[in-house]
Structure formats: structure tokens, C-alpha cells
């Protein structure tokens, strides 16, 4: 449904800045009806990719197909079947909820009974029922986001793009937003691509893509990604991280990774973590501040995949 082929985007050089490659030969597919999350550290090229997918920027090279249309040459066709939720609200805060939806209907050629039917349908799952005449800037952040999603869903898009849609929401509003999104995605068979930093959001999606420096580093199901870093890990906080890393590696022959101020032993088979922990406690007790066993989550995968070469204790795993 979304087919990105050998995409490259280079920003032109400024007077004081050299040309910058934001996306480098990236290929990726999102199949029909799939819910995919795109993640990566700040500056990884996510935003640039998002702008290209929305049809707001043209890449230096490569192709993008959405719903069978070539985005670069037929943007008008793609716009008809695509919905976009931006990170910063794309509603008019000075207008009421109903007025915003009416303008959106006008933009997509919905009118009369058809417009009212679609509007009521897409408001069905929201908590906006009795707030249609309220101005958007009087709504809470969570409700304002609901307006955004209701607006986009009104046109029944085949492909939905969302750029960090839960930024600034409290955990309950975020959960509600995502639950609604998942439910609607399944019910309508929409293809969804969402950028996100919050990995709690990623566990129940179909696929997670992680990019860094304009390249795709990983793209797989959440389960397969977690399997990449073993089934358990031992996490250590040391009094002197660097010294302990050297000791564990040289004296005990352990493959240790340094992540922030933590040391991690990642590829530990099930059941071997506890003996390993005891062994380290035995030898290095005085150097430790804490030591624990952890099941890897997607945020651990993210750290594993995106941490740079040259990090202390990096094993090259």
C-alpha cells in the first residue's frame, strides 16, 4: 500500500551549512491493512520522510507509491485516498468543532446528507458529542486530538499517516487515542503509518521500523525485534561504569554494552541470567550500585539498534 523505493533526500547547502543528507537510499513497504510504526532518534530523517509521504516535499531520488499511485507525479490522486494527522494541530482553534469538520467536508467534496452521515459516524467513537459548538481552543489536549482524528476519518482514507500524534497527551488520553485508532484501523482495514517515540505504543502493532541517519536499521514485527536481543538481559549500574566494563570484558570474558550510565549483558539465554548475576555479584560486589534482570522491551531494541559504534564496551552484536 505504501511502497518506498531507494528514496534519497538531500537538503541544499546553505551559506554556512553544507548540504545534508536526511534520507539515504531507503526502501520500505507497508502492506495493505498493516499498522506500522516508524521510529528513530531525533534527526534520523523521520520528519523528512513524513513530509515526502504527505506530498509536501519532493525527494532527490527514488520512488514512492501510495495506493497504487506515484506520489511524485500524481499527488492529487494520492491526496484523495490519504488522511494525515500532523504533530502540531491542523485545526483552526478559533472555530468550533462543527465548523472545523464542515470546512474539512468542503475540502473533500462532502456535502448534505452524505456529509452529516460521515460526520456522525466519525464522531461516534469520540467524546465530542455534546461539544460540537465549542471552540477547539477551549477543549483539553486529548479532546482536541480527537477532533483531529475524527476530521481525518470522516473522509474514509485508505492510508492514514500520523506524525507523533500523542505528543503532549497524558497517559490516559494517549491510551484512549491509541485504542480508538487500533479499533478503527481494524474495522476499516486502513493502512496506518505512524511515527512515534513512545514504545509503549508499539507493542500491539504489526511492524516497527527503526531508522537512524536516514537509513532503515530494522523493520520487523515487535516480537521478532525483541528476539533480536535475546530473551533476557542483566542490567548493572556501577560506581565507575568504564572501569567495570573493562573488568567484566577482560577478566570475565563477558559481552558487555554500555548504554548511558548502565551496563548491559544482552544476549542471555533463559535461565542463565540468574547464575550470571550471582557470578558478577561474587566477583565485583563492591563496584556495583545495582544489578537486575530485565525482559527486553521495544525501547531496549531501540537503544540496541540505534546506539552508535564506538560506545564503550560495544560488542558489535
Amino acid at each position: 500500500m505504501i511502497a518506498i523505493e531507494h528514496l534519497t533526500h538531500v537538503y541544499p547547502a546553505g551559506r554556512k551549512t553544507p548540504a545534508r543528507t536526511a534520507i539515504a537510499d531507503l526502501s520500505m513497504r507497508v502492506e495493505k491493512g498493516e499498522f506500522a510504526i516508524l521510529s528513530g532518534p531525533n534527526g534520523s530523517g523521520k520528519s523528512t520522510l513524513f513530509r515526502i509521504l504527505c506530498g509536501l516535499a519532493l525527494p532527490s531520488a527514488g520512488k514512492v507509491g501510495i495506493a497504487g499511485f506515484d506520489l511524485l507525479t500524481q499527488p492529487a490522486k494520492v491526496r484523495e485516498v490519504m488522511g494525515v494527522v500532523f504533530q502540531s494541530p491542523a485545526v483552526d482553534k478559533h472555530l468550533s468543532v462543527a465548523e472545523n469538520l464542515a470546512i474539512h467536508g468542503d475540502l473533500y467534496g462532502l456535502s448534505g446528507a452524505e456529509f452529516r452521515k460521515r460526520r456522525d459516524e466519525s464522531l461516534g467513537w469520540t467524546d465530542l458529542g455534546d461539544r460540537l459548538d465549542q471552540k477547539v481552543d477551549t477543549l483539553s489536549g486529548g479532546l482536541a486530538r480527537q477532533v483531529e482524528l475524527a476530521k481525518v476519518l470522516m473522509t474514509d482514507p485508505q492510508v492514514l499517516l500520523l506524525d507523533e500524534p500523542t505528543t503532549g497527551l497524558d497517559p490516559v488520553s494517549r491510551r484512549n487515542f491509541l485504542d480508538a485508532l487500533h479499533r478503527l484501523q481494524k474495522a476499516r482495514g486502513m493502512t496506518v503509518l505512524m511515527t512515534s517515540h513512545v514504545f509503549a505504543e508499539a507493542d500491539d502493532v504489526d511492524r516497527v521500523a527503526i531508522m537512524r541517519e536516514g537509513r532503515l536499521l530494522a523493520h520487523d514485527t515487535p516480537a521478532a525485534l525483541k528476539a533480536m536481543i535475546g530473551t533476557e538481559m542483566v542490567v548493572i549500574q556501577a560506581r565507575d561504569t568504564e572501569a567495570l566494563a573493562v573488568r567484566l570484558r577482560d577478566e570475565m570474558g563477558l559481552a558487555v554494552r554500555c548504554v548511558g550510565d548502565e551496563l548491559r549483558l544482552e544476549e542471555t539465554e533463559n535461565g542463565k541470567s540468574l547464575p550470571l548475576l550471582e557470578k558478577i555479584l561474587d566477583r565485583c560486589r563492591t563496584d556495583l550500585r545495582s544489578i537486575s534482570i530485565k525482559q527486553p522491551g521495544l525501547d531496549d531494541v531501540f537503544v540496541h539498534v540505534t546506539s552508535r559504534a564506538g560506545d564503550i564496551g560495544r560488542t558489535g552484536a
Partner: protein
């Protein structure tokens, strides 16, 4: 694809609704030119004696110029919202919608023009007190002048604002480009009494011609004006200005930022 007229009207209505929901803005945009007009009108009244205009008070001379100023300010206001809306607001959603790029320009421009029309129409009420009497034909011509000029200014503002990243940059453009266009249009002083170089600039300035088509109907009927080559030239220049800026704005919106070739 939704129809051009419907999308433009919907976007223009949004601009207008926003305007009337902010009473301070309504009051401010009418009161400020009114104060300008009264202060400058009475202040310069005693010393304003240009050759051939002995019977014209400065209040009366400056009257069409103030209307032009309202058009300019309405355009500036709406252009500034483009900068705020484009990368982090309402316009993002419009840009990804299946609408003609011309509708995006027209919505903005017609919205700003209708706002300017309301202001200038309120101001037109002052005409009889200056001894200016508008017949029906002349009133229609004045209104036509308002519409054309409003479109010209709003489309120019749109064109300038579209590529800008910050509103402060737009303020600079406003002070060194848009305001001088207005000042050198004959709004404040007649074209006749200035140094030759400045006169050339003033005659080449499309805003000078817009001022002529707004001022002329207060002094002559349609029959006289439509037979007057100077008036027709000004009309043609104003139309060209409005249409040209609309076309350039549309081309600008249509152009997507393109990445450069990899090194």
C-alpha cells in the same frame, strides 16, 4: 476533486469568521486608519496647497489613500497568518487535501479582500461629509476598485509570505517594501510635486494606479471615466497586478521543496 468555487468560498468564509470573532481586531482595523486620517488630515490641512488643487482639503485628498491603507493592512494581517498556519497549523491540513492549489490562494485572498471591503465600506460613509457625492454608477466603480485592489494587495502579501519561516522577517518586508509601495502611490501627497527620480518610481508603482481607480469615481461618473484613457490604463495596470500576483502565488504553492542531487 472538490470544486474550486466551493473550496475557495469555504476557506474565505473561515478567514472572515475569524475576523469578526475578534472584536478588538475589528475595532483596531477601523479605528487606526480613522485616527491616521483625522490626525494627518487636520495636521497637514493648513499647509496643503498643491498647484491645481486649491479647493481640495487634505482630509479629502487623503481619503482614498486611507482606504488603500486599510486594504494594505488587511492583506498584511492575513499574510502573517499564512506563516503561522503553514508549518504548524490549519493550512497543513488544507495542503494535503485533494484541492486545487489555486483554491488555497483564492480562499486566502478573497477572505482578506472581503475583510478589507467591510472596513472600507464603513469608511465610505464619511464621503458625503467631505462634500463627495457618489451616484449609483460611481459607487459600483468604487466597489470594483476595492475588490481589484484588495485582491492585488492580498495576493502580493501571499506571494511574499509563503516562503517565509518567521513572522519577524515578514515585518521587515512590510516596512521596507509594502509600506513604501503605499507611501509612493500618491496616497499621502500628489505625484506632481516630487523629484524626477521619485516620480518615475511612483508612476511605475501599480499601487498608484489602484489609487487612481479608487479616487476617480468620487469626482466623475462612469461615462466620463470609461472614455478616459488615463483611467483605463490604470484599470489595466491594476487588473494585471492582481492577476499576476494570483498566478505567481499559485505557482509558488504548487512548487514542492525539492531535495538536491546527492553529492
Amino acid at each position: 476533486m472538490s470544486s474550486l468555487a466551493r473550496v475557495s468560498a469555504s476557506l474565505a468564509r473561515r478567514e472572515f469568521t475569524r475576523f469578526i470573532r475578534q472584536p478588538q481586531r475589528v475595532v483596531g482595523t477601523v479605528a487606526q486608519p480613522l485616527l491616521f486620517w483625522l490626525f494627518l488630515g487636520f495636521g497637514f490641512g493648513g499647509s496643503f496647497r498643491p498647484a491645481g488643487m486649491e479647493n481640495v482639503t487634505y482630509l479629502e485628498y487623503f481619503f482614498p489613500g486611507v482606504m488603500l491603507m486599510m486594504m494594505l493592512f488587511a492583506s498584511i494581517f492575513s499574510s502573517i497568518t499564512i506563516i503561522e498556519d503553514r508549518d504548524a497549523g490549519f493550512l497543513q491540513g488544507v495542503l494535503v487535501a485533494p484541492v486545487s492549489r489555486l483554491a488555497i490562494v483564492l480562499g486566502k485572498v478573497l477572505g482578506a479582500t472581503s475583510i478589507a471591503m467591510v472596513q472600507t465600506l464603513i469608511f465610505t460613509v464619511a464621503a458625503p461629509f467631505l462634500g463627495l457625492h457618489l451616484g449609483f454608477g460611481s459607487l459600483v466603480m468604487v466597489l470594483g476598485g476595492f475588490v481589484l485592489t484588495g485582491i492585488g494587495f492580498s495576493a502580493l502579501g501571499f506571494l511574499l509570505a509563503w516562503g517565509m519561516k518567521s513572522t519577524s522577517a515578514f515585518h521587515a518586508v512590510m516596512m521596507v517594501f509594502l509600506m513604501p509601495l503605499w507611501m509612493l502611490s500618491g496616497a499621502l501627497f500628489p505625484i506632481g510635486n516630487v523629484p524626477a527620480a521619485m516620480k518615475v518610481v511612483m508612476l511605475a508603482n501599480p499601487v498608484s494606479h489602484a489609487l487612481i481607480i479608487i479616487r476617480a469615481p468620487f469626482y466623475a461618473g462612469p461615462a466620463v471615466l470609461l472614455a478616459d484613457n488615463a483611467y483605463l490604463l490604470s484599470l489595466a495596470v491594476t487588473v494585471a497586478w492582481a492577476v499576476g500576483c494570483l498566478g505567481l502565488s499559485m505557482a509558488r504553492v504548487n512548487r514542492r521543496d525539492k531535495g538536491v542531487e546527492a553529492a
